[in-house]
Amino acid sequence: MAEEPKKGDAVGSGVGGREAEEEQVVNPWEVTAKDGGKIDYDKLIEKFGCQRLEESLVRRVERLTGRPAHVFLRRGVFFAHRDFNEILDVYERGEKFYLYTGRGPSSEALHFGHLVPFMFTKYLQDAFKVPLVIQLTDDEKCMWKNLTVEESKRLARENAKDIIACGFDITRTFIFSDFNYVGGAFYENMVKVAKCVTFNKVVGIFGFTNEDHIGKISFPPVQAVPSFPSSFPHLFSGKDNLRCLIPCAIDQDPYFRMTRDVAPRIGYQKPALIESSFFPALQGETGKMSASDPNSAIYVTDSSKGIKNKVNRYAFSGGQDSIENHRKYGANLEVDIPVKYLGFFLEDDAELDHIRKEYGAGRMLTGEVKKRLIEVLSELVERHQRARAAVTDEMVDAFMAVRPLPHMFS
């Protein structure tokens, strides 16, 4: 799986090049807005053919789970879906489902944008009390980033530690890396899927060209088959009708459009999706988060001093250039990064509303907003680092062991 938007890493430049001039480009390897502006999510939903996540669905989730919805649902971070309402129907009937998410381990350093889908998936696991499989696509990164097999396997294990630190329940979670797990029933499903997708189709969906090596072209089934319970015989044996819900960023949609197309043809249920928007870079929506620029994001390894420094110096402000102008015109909330980040991580709805109101009216200054953000982020990072310190190699081994999970639905 790919993560945040990266310019210049585009694969399939043929397709990308044609579109980049006129339209935005969103696929697992490239996310660029039109004319260097903002991503138009409405257009994206229309183009992809998924659904908007309406308020009524959020209320329904609250009713069914008996607890307040996660911040990301309340604030529209997870804003689109495919068949999420069906999953809720299934759940209401007393049937179960399982969760599937993943990460492409391309770098050791994880930032908050990477954690967003995992934080949300943990909430889903706790709220619905369902099992989860997490795929680490070390093979994908080995191919796309030209890493050695050993290095990509090592990164997979390192990333697994940060993922575990998000608070997943070991009695309900199976983490696997492709290099370790592909084979057996999983591989059988890969072949079944591969038989149903022509070369033309993958070129159309993913933008592959004749110059791309065959590893890339045959990769998509690897990311597709965790949606099918029969890929995990040690977990879901005999439960062939178990539905799957996939929380992911919306740039992963192409993989699962392909999967949903193939599923009925091989006698499987279509996976459902719940999709998030992109996490903005510190320097603003139009900036790019890149592994080479440590100031473009807040990393989970940052100290509280480092966070304070980064936010104060690099977080793009929507405030006016002078205090008088600011008091007069207020802040531009559309582009202000601190307020956007607070939208992701500040739990208290009332407080966020207050900040937006006061800052937008010019009564609150950028410095105050940044200060609050620094507090919130520092708390989060501290909690993550504490949890991360408790994750050992043995714990990773246990999470990744091919073992039954007898209490996965309790």
């Binding site: 008996g66 209401e92 706790d126 997943f168 329940d169 070991i170 504490r386 408790a390 246990a398």
Partner: protein, 325 residues
């Protein structure tokens, strides 16, 4: 902390149980409740929380016009003539976790009520819908007896319907017919010095005193039945899953702590309103961190166990392999 009305209703929905809710101002008696919902056609219930001399608790839930004679009931349970009385107000809070005037079979969803016995009026079975409080006095829940059964089974209970007005003779040749409904575990209440007797009551207790030795043999069977029943109930609740339910644990810890705090603080403060809202804020802030820490603990403990299991299997395999040579 006890279940809230909303959590209860969410659970009923999960179980696909049909129900209707009627809101009304808080009511403490059946008469008051009747003023608001009495005309709607369902059967009002009267609910009692009773206690015996060995501090065992019973919820008796009956149609409003069923006559309940505590003396008769006491004998039928094998508790002697004066063995049952109304439980104290504190017990409502501590065991059923409902307010005054709100005793209801639905309160058995709470862990604290796991040792409470439930007696249901068989008259409910012939009613289309029965009215109970869903953990609050401000709502009446209308539900069929079948649906109530479904709910009870889902929380690990066997519904026991009893002819509450019957008055069978209890004596040497007629053992107490409801003796199997006497709980065998004893709930321990905080702040009370109890002799926590965990064994099953021996045959002689509570029976009318007549030829004890002979009765001892007979009486064991209802007691043994009770043990069996409890074992059946316990096997449907997975103890490991219960013990590793982090959310529940955190809720309990936070509640105990904040209750203790509140008690101390309100001793000195005149205004007892501030403290609860402060404790809510504190709870929210700490609960989240506490939940994360507990998850780390759970995962670490599992890992240690996993390692140990793996090593043990490895050793025994190697041993059996080397013995084969």
């Amino acid at each position: 902390m006890g279940y809230t009305k909303d959590e209860l209703l969410a659970r009923l929905k999960e179980l696909q149980i049909d129900f209707v809710c009627y809101d009304h101002p808080a009511v403490l008696t059946v008469e008051a409740q009747a003023k608001y919902v009495g005309h709607l056609g369902g059967a009002l219930s009267k609910n009692l929380l009773l206690k015996d001399k060995k501090h065992r608790y019973y919820v008796v839930s009956a149609l409003a016009n069923t006559n309940i004679d505590l003396k008769v009931l006491s004998q039928r349970l094998g508790l002697g003539k004066g063995g049952l009385r109304m439980a104290a107000e504190e017990a409502l809070q501590e065991i059923l976790q409902v307010p005054l005037g709100c005793v209801t079979p639905l309160a058995l969803i709470n862990e604290s009520a796991r040792d409470v016995s439930l007696l249901l009026d068989q008259g409910f079975k012939s009613q289309e819908s029965c009215y109970f409080h869903p953990l609050t006095n401000e709502v009446t829940l209308s539900i069929s007896a079948n649906s109530l059964d479904k709910f009870l089974v889902s929380i690990g209970r066997q519904p026991s319907y009893v002819d509450l007005e019957a008055n069978p003779a209890v004596g040497k040749d007629n053992p107490p017919d409801l003796a199997s409904l006497v709980p065998s575990g004893i709930p321990t209440l905080p702040d009370k010095v109890e002799n926590a007797v965990t064994s099953i009551p021996t045959g002689n207790d509570g029976l009318t005193v007549e030829k004890p030795t002979k009765l001892a043999g007979e009486a064991k069977s209802p007691a043994a039945l009770q043990k069996e029943k409890l074992q059946k109930v316990q096997s449907s609740i997975d103890p490991l899953a219960e013990a590793t339910n982090i959310e529940k644990l955190v809720k309990e810890i936070m509640n105990k702590t904040s209750t203790a705090f509140l008690n101390e603080i309100t001793k000195d403060l005149n205004d007892s309103q501030i403290a609860p809202s402060i404790s809510d804020v504190v709870k929210r802030r700490v609960s989240s961190d506490l939940e994360h820490m507990m998850m780390s603990l759970k995962n670490a403990a599992y890992t240690q166990g996993f390692q140990a299991g793996f090593q043990a299997t490895l050793r025994s395999s190697l041993q059996s392999l080397s013995m084969q040579k």
